[in-house]
Structures are given as structure tokens and as C-alpha cells.
Symmetry: C2
Subunit: 191 residues, 2 copies
């Protein structure tokens, strides 16, 4: 499947909040699409932070475009030049005050590759400690709490954990944990 | 948790492809954010189409912003005034030529409520028939095939089924199917 060619790209908005370009694209068929809009977003990071009994640290904040209070995983934007792990540790600490002694990189997904350039990176954080208080921006108002996994699964069904990117990360982390359990069972059965 | 107030909203882009507004927002703390960008997207729909042996109908297409060929669920944009079920049936037929005799509405998720107004609606389609050939736009080049569920789960791990919104829908549909199985087991144990 052949790729599209970018013939030109003009920034429509470019400030500290958003970079939106209008591109002129040539498709393999020769068809020209103009404008084709692209959001040049920074990478994003989500943190699935799990305590010793398997409960998950969630945050709750008002989301303006959806006009809803959403329960989500901690996370945010990876700063320019910042390592994904460092960004995950920073966002977890800023939003909840927690640090973690054990980190796993679960993987990445495209946020929306039709229109956005960026990926969402997912990290699993374990061995948690409440190390400091939140360090929020003036525009942020974030509550946090630990919830059992089956409560989150119910909240997905009932629309209280309703942000698709975070639902993808939650299920993906569950899958990662299940595979690791399978792997450790396999190891146990060998030795 | 109190909501933000929209003091004014100015369209930066408004054409048939995109509506982006720059809003002036007042937060409960009194802080003013200006501009706060909002994408006023139409509703989106995803279809989890499952055949008689439990394989899933996936589509594959080039996604320009991510510069990648992505495997996804069939789906697209709900037209203005269109019923979500009708949109799902239309997108499935256009992208794959399949129709389904049995439809379930699984639920909705916000695409990204921090910046986008819209939701992604998920429908489960069963009792499939290949009814027609694809009916693609000139700009679309879409392949389709049936894949076993465990293959898709592996493809999520390896980055071949890599679009977060579709990963959310896939896992959510699995959950819906599992709950229905549990419900039917419960019913069986009662009668």
C-alpha cells in the first residue's frame, strides 16, 4: 500500500498550544487533496499506576471540549527532548504526588494517525509511594484516588471512564499484566 | 467539580473538513485561558463485525498524519442528522461490501474530550453477508479481511493494530461479548 506525497505544507496555527498545518497531498492514484489538515502534536504519555493490592491510581478532571468531568489515567504531554519515562514520572508526580520504584514500558499507540502525528506511550508503574503533594498548573484542578480494576471496567460500561485513549491504555495494561502472569506461570511450570 | 465558562468562541478554520475554534474560557478559579482550541468534530462510528466463527472484519489503509498503514475496525464519520446505526451500516457496506442482520449498540467514548467535542460510537455487527462490492471515495484505498481475535490482540502488542481509538473499541467489544456470555450462562443456570 503506497504512501501519499506531501507537495507542500502551510501552518494555519502555530503557537505554544497547537500546530495545525494545511497540506497539499498527492495520492498514489494521482489525486490531489488540498487542504489535508494535520495536527503536529507532541508525544503523549499515560501511566497505569498499580498499588500492592492491584488497585489503579486514577485522576478526575473537567474536560472543556467534551463538557464533562472525566476519570482517566494520569498522563500528559512529553516535553521537547524529554525521555518518555521521565515524562511519565513527572506527570505522575505532578498530578498525584506519587512516585514509583518499578517502571515498565508497555508500548505505544497512535493517538489518531489520520489527523495527528503523535503517539500515546503507556507505562506501568508499581511499588508506589506518596512522596509529595500535587504540583499543578494554575489551569489544572485534578482529584485522584485508587480504584479497583473491576470498578474501572464497570465505569467504562457506564460512561464514567469515558475517554477512548485512556480506555485503550487501561485494557492494554491489563493485557500486559495478564501476559506477564502467563509468562511467570510458564516459567514456574518449567522450574 | 465546576465547569468552565465560555466567554467567547471564534472559528479559526471552518470548512467541510474541519472546524477549529479559539475560545476564551473562564475557569472556576477566575483564571482566563485564551486561546483554548476546540475541534468541533462530527460524531464517529466504529463497527466490530464478527463472523460465525468469531473472526473480526478489519480494514487496512494508509494514514497520512501518522505516515503508516494501519489495521483498524471499519468506521467513519456520522453524517449530519444521520442515525448512528445507519452510519455504521453505511460505513461497513462502503468499506467492505458487507451487511449484517444483527446489530448491537455497545456504547460510546469521547474521542478526546480535552480538545474534541465528539464521541466514538461502537456497534457490534453479526450474521454478516457479503452483499456488494466496496463503494469508496476517490481518496480511499482500503483493503479488508477477517482476522481471528487472538491475532488482533497480538497485532496490538506488535504495533500493527496501532490506532488507540480502535484499540479501545476492540477491547470494549470483547468485554461486551464476555459480559453477554456471562449473562447467558447465568440464564442457563437459572432455567
Amino acid at each position: 500500500m503506497r504512501r501519499w506525497k506531501c507537495l507542500s505544507s502551510t501552518d494555519v496555527v502555530k503557537d505554544r498550544w497547537l500546530r495545525l498545518s494545511a497540506d497539499r497531498c498527492e495520492l498514489p492514484s494521482g489525486l490531489i487533496l488540498d487542504p489535508y489538515y494535520v495536527l503536529h502534536d507532541a508525544e503523549w504519555v499515560h501511566v497505569m499506576a498499580m498499588d500492592a493490592v492491584g488497585d489503579i491510581l486514577v485522576v478526575r478532571q473537567y474536560r472543556y471540549a467534551g463538557n464533562a468531568v472525566c476519570t482517566e489515567l494520569p498522563g500528559g504531554i512529553v516535553d521537547a527532548g524529554e525521555d518518555v519515562l521521565i515524562a511519565a514520572q513527572r506527570e505522575l508526580a505532578e498530578e498525584t504526588g506519587y512516585t514509583a520504584a518499578k517502571w515498565d514500558y508497555v508500548g505505544w499507540l497512535f493517538a489518531n494517525p489520520a489527523r495527528q502525528t503523535n503517539k500515546v506511550h503507556l507505562l506501568l508503574a508499581q511499588e508506589l509511594s506518596p512522596s509529595s503533594s500535587q504540583a499543578l498548573d494554575a489551569s489544572e484542578d485534578i482529584e485522584f484516588e485508587f480504584l479497583p480494576m473491576d470498578y474501572i471496567q464497570q465505569a467504562i460500561e457506564t460512561g464514567h471512564f469515558s475517554q477512548a485513549l485512556h480506555v485503550a491504555s487501561f485494557y492494554r495494561a491489563l493485557n500486559f499484566l495478564a501476559m506477564r502472569r502467563d509468562a511467570s506461570l510458564t516459567l514456574r511450570s518449567i522450574y
